[in-house]
């Protein structure tokens, strides 16, 4: 901003000079050079700007203004002296701030250390020592403590401290909580600083002397808005596994076979994923029920058998499994009778064997089987 104004002033000065002499100064300048009046005006304005910036404590920008003045007129002794003095002042301050930063680091004063190192970079944006020190600082050097009250939610606290409900995630993350965690009253949370966002401090709390937030230029704190009651909003998890989403969608569509495939794919890589396990159970039950309703008892018996093995306490599944089993036995047994009447003994025997495979205690099936086998044997003997 003020830099632009200086550039402008300089240009105005140049033009004014041109007007005064009555001829465009460009004409008298060597090719690509500047006439001395232009040079003088620019050097003067940049030197003036440098002084103003130095007074304001903005030493790095002042140094740049001096360098620009010297760019315009490298032979200007005053500009050269100004640059040298500015550089010396900056060098001295850098050493001092680096020492302060290291001392603060040594006594564990992270906030003070951070401020010193940032102060070094403000003077020399390429100072590697300060940069590395800042990089290695642990995240969240500062945070406000908050004791959870009944009704506090992550989103509500984010609104209260940052004026932005979406930052509930940040509080969750800083406190190692799930993004949708319910907060237990009495727990102490850390409300971390978020760069670029002013932290709204409660009431009369005094900032520590070197608090890094809010910055002096940050908007003034506004009164905290009351948190929304917990019942109003429950946050969704920040992110979900896409395979899980696909499985859920298949389940919603009642496409149980696909949902089962999706869940199995997920479980292949993460067998302990509880939600995938739950999805698999739902898919198995849905599939088994559909098969039962479509009288595909063999399939429903197999599907539900798998489910009951996974979830022995699933009462609906156990009941439906028993029903499937009964229907399947009746089917095989009835078909056996039909084949017997049609004198298809081997087929009848196979059906009753199937019954006994499911229910070895099935007396009628065993009786029929034994009788048919005897009959078949005597028939074969007679043939020979």
């Amino acid at each position: 901003m003020s830099l632009r104004r200086v550039v402008l002033l300089a240009a105005m000065a140049v033009t004014a000079a041109a007007c005064a002499t009555g001829a465009p100064p460009v004409e008298q300048a060597p090719p690509g050079g500047m006439v001395s009046s232009q040079r003088q005006a620019l050097v003067a304005s940049y030197s003036e700007r440098a002084q103003a910036l130095e007074t304001d404590g903005r030493l790095r920008e002042a140094l740049e203004a001096r360098k620009i003045a010297l760019t315009v007129d490298p032979d200007n002794a005053a500009a050269r002296d100004g640059l040298r003095a500015a550089q010396a002042k900056i060098d001295g301050l850098i050493s001092q701030r680096l020492a302060e930063g290291r001392a603060a680091q040594a006594r564990g004063a992270q906030v003070a250390a951070r401020r010193s190192f940032l102060g070094v970079l403000a003077l020399d944006p390429e100072n590697r020592a300060a940069f590395e020190a800042l990089r290695e600082q642990t995240p969240d050097v500062e945070g406000l403590p908050h004791i959870v009250r009944a009704g506090d939610t992550l989103a509500g606290l984010a609104q209260q401290y940052y004026g932005n409900r979406a930052l509930g995630e940040v509080i969750a993350e800083a406190n190692r909580l799930a993004p949708n965690a319910r907060l237990a009253a009495g727990t102490q949370l850390k409300i971390p600083e978020v760069p670029g966002v002013a932290l709204i401090r409660p009431g009369a709390r005094k900032d520590p002397p070197h608090a890094s937030l809010p910055g002096p230029g940050a908007p003034p704190a506004t009164p905290a808005t009351p948190a929304t009651p917990a019942s109003v909003q429950r946050e969704e998890p920040a992110e979900v596994n896409p395979l899980l989403v696909e499985a859920r969608e298949s389940l919603e569509r009642k496409d149980y076979a696909t949902a089962l495939g999706d869940a199995d794919r997920l479980l292949a890589s993460t067998p302990s994923n509880a939600e995938a396990q739950a999805l698999k159970r739902s898919a198995l039950y849905g599939l088994g029920k559909t098969q039962y309703d479509q009288k595909q008892y063999k399939d429903s018996y197999a599907t539900l058998g798998q489910l009951v093995k996974l979830a022995p306490n699933h009462e609906d599944a156990a009941k439906l499994l028993r029903q499937s089993r009964g229907r399947l036995i009746d089917d095989h047994f009835g078909r056996g009778i039909r084949y017997y009447r049609e004198e298809k003994l081997p087929e009848a025997i196979a059906e009753w064997k199937a019954v006994l495979e499911i229910d070895p205690q099935h007396i009628a099936a065993r009786k029929n089987l034994e009788q048919s086998e005897r009959l078949l044997k005597s028939l074969e003997e007679r043939k020979q």
């Binding site: 006439v35 800042l134 979900v240």
Partner: protein, 341 residues
């Protein structure tokens, strides 16, 4: 924004004033000495700066092309002077090289927001499937407001003090590797000239019905999109209660090291960076990530990053389907004010 408007007004006022002053007193300008060879404008330069007084009205792009040899360096002139057009006869300072690599100055420090998108579709669904129309609106907003989506590589150089970034640099990332990226995001990004990074988890690639395949990812990579790691199974990497060190290390081997080999085989290069599944990490995970050879790793903590961000906990802001444009814009903070005098 307010400052820029004011600056422009002052500048314009100045131009009118000076032109008016000259018109009354100065004689008409002499004819150019030679029509074929226009006179070069007055110019001085040092190692750091170039000061020029243009003969004609110039733009940041035309000046960058003439004096920095690269039109795409226009942002350097814009960021340094705060202007994009320059009237004839007024001195312009052009920085010849980066003047502030870390973005820290007496009034605060620069931040780079990294945005995270997930799935896109024609219509929004829940929080995580965003409508293609709202995505496009957000991208056009970035363009019209002067934001510059940069590559992940450029951002990482910034975090190593190796590159100065434009004032309004942002990074766009897409998690998981959905097909919808190709369908809905790719055409918009291409049109606007925006770069983006995809974080894919290897179990999903080519597996899910909505997943991009390795050949598709390879094509996207060839077109300049960056493909990076998002674990093998997309499960919480943090050490589970009761998990022994040996179990944890075996699991980390699968989640962190296997994807690197897979990338190498499928895409021809190993991933440099990792996005933590769900954004979750702890100190044990950090150690493993580092040991596995990742240079940087990303959380989903909603905040923008200074140059001196800790490389294994770089933050990203998730964009949700139900965000208004105003909510979206809240994720675009590019400066932290702090008095560092």
């Amino acid at each position: 924004m307010r400052g820029r408007g004011l600056g422009a007004a002052i500048l314009l006022g100045g131009v009118v004033l000076t032109a008016g002053a000259c018109a009354t007193s100065a004689p008409p300008p002499p004819p150019p000495p030679s029509a074929a060879a226009p006179k070069p404008p007055p110019m001085r330069q040092s190692d750091d700066f170039l000061v020029v007084i243009p003969n004609t009205r110039e733009t940041s792009a035309s000046l960058a092309a003439q004096y920095l040899g690269d039109q795409s360096k226009a942002w350097m002139i814009e960021d340094y002077t705060g202007a994009a057009t320059f009237p004839a006869g007024q001195a312009v300072v052009i920085p010849k090289r980066p003047w502030n690599l870390t973005g820290v100055s007496a009034t605060g420090y620069r931040l780079v927001p990294i945005l995270v998108y997930h799935n896109l579709d024609r219509a929004a669904k829940g929080k995580l499937v965003q409508s293609a129309a709202s995505f496009e609106q957000q991208m056009r907003y970035l363009k019209s407001e002067g934001y510059r989506p940069i590559t992940m590589g450029e951002f990482l150089e910034f975090t190593r003090m190796g590159r100065q970034l434009p004032k309004k640099a942002v990074v766009l990332t897409f998690d998981d590797g959905y097909k919808s990226f190709k369908l809905f995001a790719y055409p918009v990004l291409k049109e606007l000239g925006f770069s983006a990074t995809l974080f894919v988890y290897t179990d999903y690639v080519g597996a899910g019905r909505n997943a991009l395949s390795w050949p598709e990812l390879k094509d996207l990579q060839a077109e300049g999109f960056d493909v990076q790691a998002h674990s093998k199974t997309h499960s919480d990497l943090r050490r589970a209660p009761g998990e022994t060190s040996a179990q944890f290390e075996r699991r980390m081997q699968a989640e962190l090291a296997l994807p690197r080999d897979m990338f190498k085989r499928q895409l021809g290069q190993m991933p440099e960076t990792l996005a933590y599944p769900y954004g979750w990490w702890d100190t044990d995970v950090l150690k493993q990530v580092k040991a596995s050879g990742y240079m940087a790793a990303f959380t989903v903590r909603r905040q923008a990053n200074p140059s001196f961000v800790s490389p294994l906990t770089i933050h990203r802001s998730q964009i949700y389907a139900d965000m208004t444009l105003e909510d979206f814009a809240k994720n675009l903070t590019v400066f932290q004010e702090e008095d560092l005098r």
